[in-house]
């Protein structure tokens, strides 16, 4: 599988971070689960960081956009 581009990793991990972190609020409000904030933050960063590394070394892969577009704007 081809490696994901740096830009793709940045965008993907930014979105992943927000989603994983928002789940904490959802757990707190909807389910009444009070997670430890420090621990949860560490966990979030770990999930996002591991995903970033895995994407970077091609362990998991997303096909990047066609190269022709790289500098089109």
């Amino acid at each position: 599988m081809r490696r994901t581009t740096q830009g793709g990793i940045l965008v993907g991990c930014g979105v992943l971070f927000v989603i994983v972190w928002e789940i904490r609020s959802a757990l707190g409000l909807l389910a009444g689960v009070d997670t430890n904030p420090q621990l949860y933050m560490l966990l979030t960063l770990a999930v996002v960081g591991l995903t970033a590394v895995a994407l970077a070394i091609g362990l998991i892969g997303l096909r990047p956009e066609p190269p022709a577009d790289e500098d089109a704007q």
């Binding site: 581009t5 965008v11 930014g14 609020s25 707190g28 009444g32 066609p66 790289e70 704007q73």
Partner: protein, 590 residues
């Protein structure tokens, strides 16, 4: 980076150099307001969360007024007039009728902004009596310096003249092309400006008939519920005025950048007509828990507001379908696998998509705000700023910034200074806003108020149902800091772009819609009809509530004295007597 893809097509600057200069000026005015507003925003985020307090808490309200006015009046509306000038000239494919006239309305808007900003920043200088610590909503009987109201009036007149400019171009085009349908961008510009004419009736009456003469001392009593209602007459449609430039970009630019075509031109027109019709007769939903307005009027406002969800829900479908079309044309396959085929490394595309994603979340909190009785839960809590930082603060702001990455080369014939910085900027914004608005929504549910320097009280503590208030504060502060960094990256990136070499032939034509206007009924383009219906709807929604308010409190409400907002730190202690003293002194000095 590899070389710029050159289509060989002329840019907007090549075709319309004079108009491009106006557009650049308007956009720069917008970015300066954005940068200043971001500084004030950072001060606030750190102050109210008690992370870092650089200013006296009394001055917090000066900062808050400046942040509000600069962001939602100057940043958004300067961008709007710049973008609309571009869209009008581009879509009718003809220059403005008089470039001097165009510069005139731009000049008026600048003058108005400067007046209002001077009045607001005067609040930092205790030696003057110039002050406007009245926040963006300037509810009477809090009184600002006349310069503030005068500045607002001149700014709004500038926008009216801008609208007339677009109509002028349209009429000139229509005289030469009597049988043609209005091009889509032109249609969007015109319906938005017609909506603005309807909406600004409220603010014009409030400011010119009441607040300005009252601040000049021509009369000394005012009906606060009347001016507040007139404010919201304008104060809700103005949020659509902020949003419509983003919609215009989502409908007409985003599909092209995604490599596709707009799914449906006629539905785009239906959406803008719905906004023209329904944006204004809804303002009373900001007054669900106001005294002096009957529940029936509030129910009507709620019903209208709920139906106003329709054009936004339709937009969600049309825009995502257009992007999907782009992805499939780029070779994307599968039920959701096409998402991978999109140009995620392009900051213009990614920024607009992230803005749209946050708008989906902001749409939900907006639905809660629109619900009449559930408003008791969230009214004036920080939930509300949490909501509008997702809508105007991201759906609009991030879209405008992202679109600038695409638009700026068309206006300057220069490449963007750095696309990677641009990409990082939009992602930082998304993460920062994710943190900040999440914390704001949750705090709001715990009853923590908006618009306050120190949400910490002596007699009680806020009860957090999970986590803690201090943790949420930290989250809010980190989010606000990221947003500040993101704004600075954006403005710097654009400023540095002035130093990149001039190129030629980098024009980017926009793609044609899949479903064109030809198969839609001509009545859609009958702007007079829609404008007339919009006016009728406004009369239906507002005639009775306004009559009732005037009947109750009088045009110039008896028994309400002005309270000038010339608050120096000393006068703002908890002693209420001092507050009243300041008011008494202030009423002698109008």
């Amino acid at each position: 980076m590899s070389e710029q893809l050159e289509s060989g097509a002329p840019t907007f600057l090549d075709k319309f150099p004079d108009e491009a200069a106006v557009v650049r000026a308007a956009l720069w005015s917008s970015f300066i307001a954005l940068a200043l507003g971001a500084v004030f925003g950072l001060i606030q985020a750190l102050h109210r969360t008690d992370v870092l307090r650089l200013i006296d808490s009394t001055d917090y309200y000066t900062v808050l007024t400046a942040h509000g006015v600069l962001m939602v009046v100057s940043f958004t509306i300067f961008f709007l007039v710049g973008l609309f000038t571009w869209a009008t000239v581009r879509s009718f494919d003809r220059g403005v009728e008089s470039i001097r006239y165009t510069w005139t309305w731009y000049g008026l808007m600048v003058a108005g902004t400067l007046m209002a900003v001077v009045a607001i920043l005067g609040g930092f200088v205790p030696q003057t009596d110039i002050s406007a610590d009245v926040l963006f909503t300037f509810y009477a009987p809090m009184q600002a310096h006349p310069l503030f109201y005068g500045g607002l009036a001149i700014f709004v007149i500038g926008t009216w003249l801008a609208g007339a400019d677009y109509i002028w171009t349209w009429r000139a085009w229509a005289a030469e092309n009597p049988d043609e349908r209005i091009p889509l961008q032109g249609f969007m510009v015109l319906t938005t400006m017609l909506m603005w004419y309807v909406a600004t009736i409220g603010i014009a009456i409030a400011v010119v008939a009441f607040l300005l003469p009252w601040s000049l001392g021509l009369f000394d009593q005012i009906n606060p519920l009347l001016t507040r209602t007139l404010f919201w007459f304008w104060g809700h449609p103005v949020v659509y005025f902020w949003l419509m430039p983003a919609y215009l970009l989502w409908y007409t630019v985003l599909p092209t950048i995604a490599g596709g075509r707009l799914f449906s031109d006629p539905l785009g027109r239906v959406v803008f007509v719905l906004f023209l019709l329904l944006s204004t007769p809804v303002g009373i939903h900001h007054q669900y828990v106001d005294p002096g307005i009957a529940e029936g009027f509030k129910t009507i406002a709620m019903t209208n507001t709920m139906f106003l969800l329709l054009p936004s829900l339709l937009t969600a479908f049309t825009v995502v379908a257009s992007v999907e079309h782009g992805a499939r044309q780029r070779g994307g396959t599968g039920l959701l696998g096409w998402l991978r085929a999109l140009p995620w490394r392009n900051p213009a595309f990614t920024g607009m998509m992230l803005a749209g994603l946050m708008f989906a979340a902001g749409g939900f909190s907006g639905m809660i705000n629109a619900g009449m009785n559930i408003n008791y839960l969230v009214h004036n809590t920080i939930w509300v700023p949490g909501h509008f930082h997702l809508t105007v603060g991201t759906a609009v702001a991030l879209t405008l910034m992202a679109a600038t990455y695409w638009l700026w080369p068309q206006l300057t014939n220069r490449r963007l200074y750095s696309r990677p910085i641009g990409l990082a900027q939009v992602v930082i914004w998304f993460v920062g806003m994710g943190l900040m608005s999440n914390a704001m929504h949750v705090q709001g549910l715990f009853g923590i108020p908006r618009r306050t320097a120190e949400p910490q009280y002596e007699g009680f503590d806020f009860v957090a149902s999970f986590g803690s208030v201090s943790e949420l504060n930290l989250q809010l502060a980190i989010g606000g800091t990221l947003l500040f960094i993101s704004t600075m990256l954006f403005v710097t990136n654009i400023a540095l772009s002035a130093g990149t070499p001039k190129l030629s032939g980098i024009g980017q034509p926009l793609s044609e819609p899949l479903s064109t206007v030809d198969d839609s009924p001509e009545i859609l383009d009958n702007l007079k009809l829609w404008f007339g219906i919009a006016l009728v709807l406004v009369v239906l929604a507002y005639a009775l509530p306004l009559a009732s308010i005037i009947d109750r409190g009088g045009l110039l409400g008896p028994g309400v004295d002005p309270v000038p907002m010339i608050v120096e730190p000393v006068a703002a202690t908890i002693e209420p007597t001092l507050g009243r003293l300041a008011a008494a002194v202030g009423s002698v000095v109008p």
